[in-house]
């Protein structure tokens, strides 16, 4: 009978060997010391960097121009672009599977969790060496910091939530595109008018891939709520609150009383922006820095674009802030980490900190008819931001006057960071809540919020 057991034993041995081997491969690297980083400056490195998915040829050409300039400055580094756009449902798979580029971007939402779980490289020693390391806007910098304040990920863009609107649909509905709604009641009236007069969706709402919770939370913040509070010991989910209730009731009324939200209630970020770019949505709440995506990836007519701030109503109302962090693969070698920080410094931050960088970036984009100068929130301070806009003033090709309702108001609005613990879980838990309200007229908002709060607290406690 031995012949029958030999093969299974061999398989078991093989399996055990492979398990041990792969487990060994997953062990993390030690953080890079400064001395080591200096020694690596001249080492030959091939660096895989992220480039947005689905860019127009002109945008790709602009990127390649910048990459060539970088290689000229750093001849020892070979830059290889890899298409990548952060998506909530695929990011974790890419991260675990090791298929991310060495330098990639993540939303502020993910920064803290990735750092706590040590899923990105600790580049804090390298970032501390950057000449502007201590000049980041404090609130913005926190998104990429570990509990001890070390900067594991570098903020490269920041935004406050805004209402994007379609000026052509506004005009068609008899609304003034230069005077967008300033209160939630006015938003509701405008949505109803667009829906009635144009037949398109008056107010589009994302509900899938964690975006439903994100936008509901934006509404709740603008009405004075917060997704979490801290009792001095731990973060507590605060979802079953009057503000979240008001936000959901508001959506319920738009959907069931006004019928101004169209026929699609499973929008995620990509599909909602595609439909907004195609002129099928009158108003859409999203990050204030989406203009580039709408024009370069969703072929929106720039003349139709408008954006304004969220109306803030109620005590402690604030615009939900967010942004983008540049991070480095946890399995990157020390030489790759050093090259990665140089790339982040050149490509993402050079245009925000130096005249040469700002002008080179703007020229590359302008040469390819890509948007230049769209207003965003400052990663550093307002003065630095204004300075960069001045440097590239001659190259700005976006219709700044169409941004005025947003850019005139956003710098005066109080910005509040996203809920700090289990942020994506909180948003994911609220997705079905929003969907329930939009697809069931009799949805029990109180019960939905009570259940959601309990579930989010469980996830916060699970760590």
């Amino acid at each position: 009978m031995k012949s029958r057991t030999t093969a299974p034993l061999a398989v078991l041995a093989l399996t055990a060997g492979l398990t041990a081997g792969l487990t060994a491969c997953s062990a993390g690297e030690e953080p890079l010391s400064l001395a080591e980083a200096d020694a690596l400056d001249e080492q030959e490195v091939t660096l895989t960097v992220a480039i947005d998915e689905g860019l127009a040829d002109e945008a790709v050409a602009a990127f390649e121009t910048r990459a060539a300039e970088f290689t000229e400055e750093h001849p020892n580094i070979t830059v290889e672009a890899q298409e990548y756009t952060w998506t909530g449902t695929t990011f974790a798979a890419d991260l675990a599977g090791g298929t991310l580029p060495t330098v990639f971007t993540v939303p502020f939402t993910d920064g803290r969790g990735l750092i706590e779980r040590e899923q990105i490289a600790d580049i804090s020693a390298l970032t501390a060496e950057l000449p502007y390391a201590d000049q980041f806007n404090e609130t913005v910098a926190q998104a990429g910091q570990a509990a001890d304040g070390s900067q594991w990920a570098i903020p490269v863009a920041a935004y406050g939530q805004g209402i994007h609107y379609n000026r052509a649909l506004f005009a068609e509905a008899g609304l003034d595109p230069d005077d967008p709604p300033a209160t939630w009641d006015e938003v509701r009236e405008a949505a109803a008018a667009i829906s009635e007069k144009t037949g398109e969706t008056g107010f589009g709402m994302m509900t899938s891939s964690n975006t439903g919770g994100w936008i509901l939370t934006s509404l709740a913040y603008a009405m004075g709520g917060r997704g979490e509070t801290n009792d001095g010991k731990q973060d507590i989910a605060t979802i079953d609150t009057p503000e979240y209730h008001d936000a959901l009731s508001y959506l319920h009324d738009l959907r069931w009383e006004d019928d101004s939200m169209g026929d699609e209630f499973l929008y995620d970020w990509g599909t909602s922006h595609a439909d907004f770019g195609a002129g099928k949505i009158g108003m859409l709440i999203s990050g204030g820095g989406d203009y580039g995506n709408l024009i370069t990836q969703n072929a929106m007519n720039p003349d139709d674009y408008g954006v304004t701030v969220l109306p803030l109503e109620g005590d402690d109302a604030a615009a939900l802030g967010g942004g983008t962090l540049a991070a480095v693969d946890a399995k990157a070698s020390p030489a790759e980490q050093a090259a990665a920080v140089q790339w982040i410094d050149f490509y993402y931050l050079g245009k925000l900190t130096t005249q040469a960088g700002a002008v080179a970036d703007a020229e590359a984009a302008a040469a390819q008819d890509q948007p230049v100068g769209a207003p965003v929130l400052p990663v550093f301070d307002k003065a630095t931001y204004d300075q960069t806009q001045e440097w590239i003033a001659d190259l700005i090709n976006v219709p700044l006057e169409q941004f005025a309702p947003y850019s005139d108001g956003i710098y005066d609005q109080p910005l509040a960071p996203e809920p700090p613990s289990a942020t994506q879980d909180l948003y994911a838990t609220l997705d079905p809540v929003v969907q329930a309200v939009l697809t069931d007229e009799d949805a029990d908002i109180d019960a939905l919020l009570a259940d959601a709060e309990q579930q989010v607290q469980t996830l916060i406690d699970r760590g």
Binding site: K2, T15, G28, T89, A92, A93, A96, Q119, L266, D451
Partner: protein
């Protein structure tokens, strides 16, 4: 190869008609005897298969078992947490919803997806001309990549008046219907597409099985005065019984693992009305949290339940089966 043939000839072959094999005489043991009987060459021939299965099937299963008792994000060192992942998963309020939705999908898929291919195959087998054409047409949806098919149907399912299906419904004065936008409509809409997509493969299996039915049985039934329905009931179905059992168990296992349709059509919505067990597993692992421990724990629970169901099914239907 010669060794293998000789070895197989040396082995006692039980009589084909006997149900219980006679007790075998103990063989001389040891590696030498194993080598003499052609063990190394057998192992050599089987090695590529063993390696492939080991690497791509058994290793992931073994890894999943290990991960189900760990807290791991596949980057940092894993931490042993005992049965905590299992208790967490079993206490998740979404689990009963996902189980209910999966059963609902399975029942709907059985109601639509099981009889439709059978009826189509029987009807095709009755056609004398162009049977091949009908079979090819039935099989065509299987050739379409699942993701393409789902995205195509997603466009058809548009809830607007101008959506393809709503336009068709409008021709007869019905609709517009919220195909994917209403918790009550979403799951049947998913099943409709899944049935369309999968029926072709089953039709081909049934058609092949039908060619194995001896024609004299139909002749005898006709002589006895049986009509088409009686022939189907008394000849076709009993003759197809083994294949029907197999396709039924495959269908149950397949529908219990439904993922593509809810993931691509609705992402589990609206309001979790299409969240299935597999989608829940996916969301644990890849929904942002990277909770691979919970994902593998629920995967193992599902595998155990399906294994038990399969065993019970085969046991209770053994007396009906001819295989």
């Amino acid at each position: 190869m010669a060794d293998v043939v000789v070895t197989s000839l040396e082995r006692p072959v039980p009589p084909a008609t006997s149900q219980a094999a006679p007790a075998r005489a103990p063989r001389p043991g040891g590696l030498a005897a194993w080598a003499r009987r052609g063990g190394p060459s057998t192992l050599l021939i089987a090695l590529p298969m063993i390696l492939c299965f080991g690497l791509f099937s058994w290793f992931p299963i073994a890894r999943a078992v290990v991960m189900s008792v760990q807290y791991t994000n596949l980057v940092a060192a894993p931490e042993f947490v005992g049965l905590e992942n299992f208790t967490y998963v079993l206490s998740d309020p979404l689990l009963p919803v996902a189980v209910r939705n999966t059963l609902y999908f399975a029942v709907l898929a059985l109601l639509f997806g099981y009889p439709v291919p059978l009826l189509a195959a029987v009807a095709m087998s009755e056609v004398r001309r162009a049977r091949g054409l009908f079979a090819a047409l039935a099989y065509l949806p299987v050739v379409v990549p699942p993701v393409v098919a789902v995205l195509l149907w997603k466009t058809f399912y548009s809830g607007a008046d101008t959506g393809v299906f709503n336009t068709i419904a409008g021709w007869v004065g019905a609709g517009p219907f919220p195909w994917l936008q209403d918790p009550d409509w979403a799951m049947p809409s998913l099943v409709l597409e899944a049935t369309w997509a999968a029926a072709g493969g089953t039709v081909i299996i049934y058609l092949a099985a039908l060619t194995g039915v001896p024609p004299e049985l139909y002749d005898a039934a006709e002589v006895d005065g049986a009509g088409i329905w009686r022939k189907i009931w008394h000849v076709t179905l009993p003759q197809l019984r083994p294949v029907l059992f197999i396709t039924l168990i495959l269908q149950i296992i397949g529908t219990s693992q439904v993922f593509t349709e809810p993931y691509l059509f609705t992402g589990g919505g609206p309001a979790n009305s299409t969240t299935t067990i597999l989608l829940m597993i996916y969301n644990y692992a890849f929904g942002g949290r990277g909770d691979y421990g919970a994902a593998t724990a629920l995967s193992l629970l599902l595998a155990v339940v399906l294994a038990i169901l399969s065993a019970i099914y085969f046991r209770t239907t053994k007396r009906w089966s001819t295989t």
